[in-house]
């Protein structure tokens, strides 16, 4: 990290302490906006329910009240043991999910990579390659996990 960043952290740490000491009350008051969000979320949900009740004509019949109105009729209870293989698939899906979640912020940072004090060439050598390499390592480990599951036969359903 360069000097300016160090100074920035240094300043925030010092002002952070003063800020807590001076504005001890407003620190908790800042959570007020969270409270308003919660109220808002509940209100939106309630409004949607009551609006539907008020606007929509009500005509229930057995087929309409079943779980899937236009699909297979449900059989038995939902509280059954189901195959653990579903979890394998869920986990494998998560591999790619995590990949995407990590790639986006990385890509934006990587795109605007700039360092004070350093030329463009130096930036590429000292930051560009290492950051790119880090992502390659990450990708390699994820792909290895996927290939492992594949080769060990967890993708077949038997």
């Amino acid at each position: 990290m360069d000097e300016t960043a160090a100074n920035a952290i240094n300043q925030t740490s010092q002002t952070g302490a003063n800020w807590i000491v001076n504005n001890y009350g407003s620190y908790y008051a800042a959570y007020g906006i969270v409270l308003w969000f919660i109220f808002g979320a509940i209100a939106v949900g309630l409004i949607a329910i009551f609006l539907a009740k008020w606007l929509a004509p009500s005509d229930p019949y057995p087929a309409k009240r079943s779980t899937y109105e236009c699909s297979e009729p449900p059989v038995g209870s939902a509280w059954v043991k189901f195959n653990i293989r579903y979890y394998f698939f869920a986990l494998l899906f998560l591999i790619f999910d995590a990949e995407v979640v990590f790639f986006y912020p990385w890509a934006t940072v990587f795109h605007d990579l700039k360092t004070p004090h350093l030329s463009e060439f130096q930036t590429i050598i000292t930051l560009g390659f290492p950051i790119f390499g880090e992502m390659l390592v990450f990708l390699f480990l994820l792909l290895l996990g996927w290939v492992y599951a594949w080769r060990k036969g967890y993708l077949t359903w038997d």
Binding site: D2, Q14, G16, A17, I20, V21, Q122, T126, L127, L144
Partner: protein
């Protein structure tokens, strides 16, 4: 990469960096790219991945290939730990030490604990070689052990609460899997499930404690946290700290298995395969002790008024509960689990003594006797517990039993094993000619120097009880006639691995000819050199 290093040494790397950056090296060291300091971690990680790939390409289930690759990788990393130490001492101002934006700190303390963690995993791998494990998953087993080690090496150098939390989670997740590794045995699954459920709850507690600390100080970095707490000194008695530290203590107490939070340990140990029990008895505890030291003696050093009483309570409870419950245990793994709970009580005693310091000198805690005594205790605890598990492994291999009855007359059946076990148990009890005495002595000395009489008295009383139940196992090995008097011939591997604990523990006070000094003194000096930085140089204060 390794070959490159071997051929050109560090000079090549340094020249490369100097050529591209026309800045003093000290500034660069704080950049995000000081990868060469991660050599130990990356080599273990590489070995773990290599094991997975080897298992994919050619699953050779009964061969020695996987453990040998794992041991070689760990040994190379162990040597790289010392290489890193050399690099940091030669090229960097050791007062710096924070890298990757303060996420990790490479200092003598972390390198010291890394080397012990590597020793622990080498022993665990040696024990696993002859153990019966599910054949389909042998390759995974060794790579999981190494993944756990990678996580531990990161934990011991973390100086940021988020890094600490993520890496302790990594340690725990791998531990849950290897505890339940014999997945067709109900006992193993039960132990693993208990470990998982309690561990998940404890992680939530720990994270909540950290979030309160972050909310109060506005930082996750422990060095900045310390600076802020010094500046707002009049607020450190704020009751919010009782909540935050209490939460953190619950979370981290589960991981260390100290007294009110130890309930998972005996079940998890009993269910786990023996080498895994040995592994989780030693290495995660080393990592968690590092977290204790970093968080309490660095981040929260100014709040010692609040955490020291809690710590004293936990220490006393651990010693009492661990020792009293260990008396009646007839399964060697449950017995060693409770003995571990009791031993952790003594470790916390050192931490309590280290916490009571004058706040004017920020280095007072890490220069204190309590700090050195605690690290000294951890090394010796690792040696003696691994030694005891080693013999338990031999007995399990030859008699198929972990029960008290299997140890009847072990001296007549396997004299060397019985002698090694005796030395380890006497050492755990803290009887003078063994190394365990050195551990207990310094911890008590630290507590007496700080006049913590309650801790000292409870500790002394509980040591007497401890002697009783350790001697019970020695009695059954030496003075009871065996039920089955066939000789046990340990394999060459087992005999070789027995040499280390015997020599380290039994001859700890015998001065070496020509060299001078004793093992006890060397270990203490080594532990005393493992200080960490308490003043934040890089972030400035």
């Amino acid at each position: 990469m390794i070959l490159l290093y071997a051929a050109f040494g560090d000079s090549l790397v340094m020249t490369m960096y100097r050529a591209y950056i026309h800045q003093p090296l000290e500034n660069f060291a704080n950049n995000y790219t000081a990868y060469f300091l991660l050599l130990p971690e990356s080599i273990v990680l590489g070995t773990a991945v290599l094991l997975l790939v080897l298992d994919l390409i050619k699953p050779n289930r009964d061969s020695l290939k996987a453990p040998v690759v794992a041991i070689v990788g760990t040994l190379i990393s162990l040597s790289m730990v010392y290489y890193t130490q050399y690099l940091t001492s030669r090229y960097f101002n050791p007062a710096l030490g924070q890298y990757w934006g303060g996420l990790e700190t490479i200092d003598p303390f972390s390198l010291f604990l890394k080397s012990i963690a590597f020793l622990g995993v080498i022993f665990a791998i040696l024990m696993s070689i002859k153990t019966r494990l599910p054949r389909k998953h042998t390759g995974e087993y060794y790579s999981l052990l190494l993944f756990a080690t990678v996580a531990m090496t990161f934990v011991v150098s973390s100086s940021d609460v988020l890094a600490i939390w993520i890496m302790t989670e990594f340690v725990s997740l791998t531990s849950y899997i290897i505890v339940a590794f014999n997945k067709h045995e109900p006992r193993s699954v039960e132990g693993g499930l208990k470990y998982l459920l309690l561990g998940a709850i404890s992680s939530a507690f720990m994270l909540y404690g950290f979030s309160i600390l972050y909310g109060y100080t506005g930082t996750t970095n422990l060095y900045v946290m310390k600076t802020i707490l010094i500046q707002s000194a009049e607020q450190v008695t704020n009751p919010i700290f009782v909540l935050a530290i209490g939460m953190f203590m619950v979370g981290i107490g589960f991981k260390l298995a100290i007294a009110p939070f130890h309930t998972w340990a005996p079940d998890a140990f009993e269910g786990a395969p023996l080498p895994v029990a040995a592994f989780i008895a030693v290495t995660p505890k080393i990592a968690v002790v590092a977290v204790f030291l970093r968080v309490f003696l660095l981040g929260l050093a100014n709040v010692a008024v609040i955490w020291v009483p809690m710590m004293i309570g936990c220490a006393i409870l651990s010693m009492v509960i661990g020792n009293l419950f260990a008396i009646r245990q007839n399964n060697i793994k449950r017995f060693l689990a409770y003995s571990g709970v009791a031993q952790m009580g003594f470790v916390l005693m050192g931490l309590c003594a280290a916490g009571v310091q004058s706040q004017s000198d920020p280095n007072a805690a890490i220069k204190s006797l309590g700090y050195n005594a605690m690290l000294n205790y951890m090394v010796i605890y690792a040696i003696m517990t691994l030694g005891a598990f080693l013999i338990a492994n031999v007995v399990k291999f030859h008699t198929g039993s972990e029960d008290f009855r299997a140890y009847r007359g072990l001296f007549q059946r396997a004299p060397a094993s019985a002698l090694t076990m005796m030395v380890c148990l006497l050492s755990l009890a803290g009887i003078p000619p063994t190394l365990g005495f050195s551990a207990k002595f310094f911890v008590f000395a630290a507590a007496i120097a700080k006049e913590m009489w309650l801790l000292v008295i409870v500790g002394a009383l509980m040591s007497v009880i401890a002697v009783f139940y350790y001697l019970r196992w020695i009695w059954v090995m030496f003075l009871v006639e065996p039920e089955d008097s066939t000789l046990i011939l340990p394999s060459r591997l087992h005999r070789l691995s027995m040499i280390l604990p015997i020599w380290l523990l039994a001859f700890a006070y015998v001065p070496f000819p020509f060299v001078g000094g004793t093992i006890a003194k060397w270990i203490y000096d080594y532990a005393a050199g493992a200080y960490f930085l308490t003043i934040n140089v890089y972030f400035g204060s």
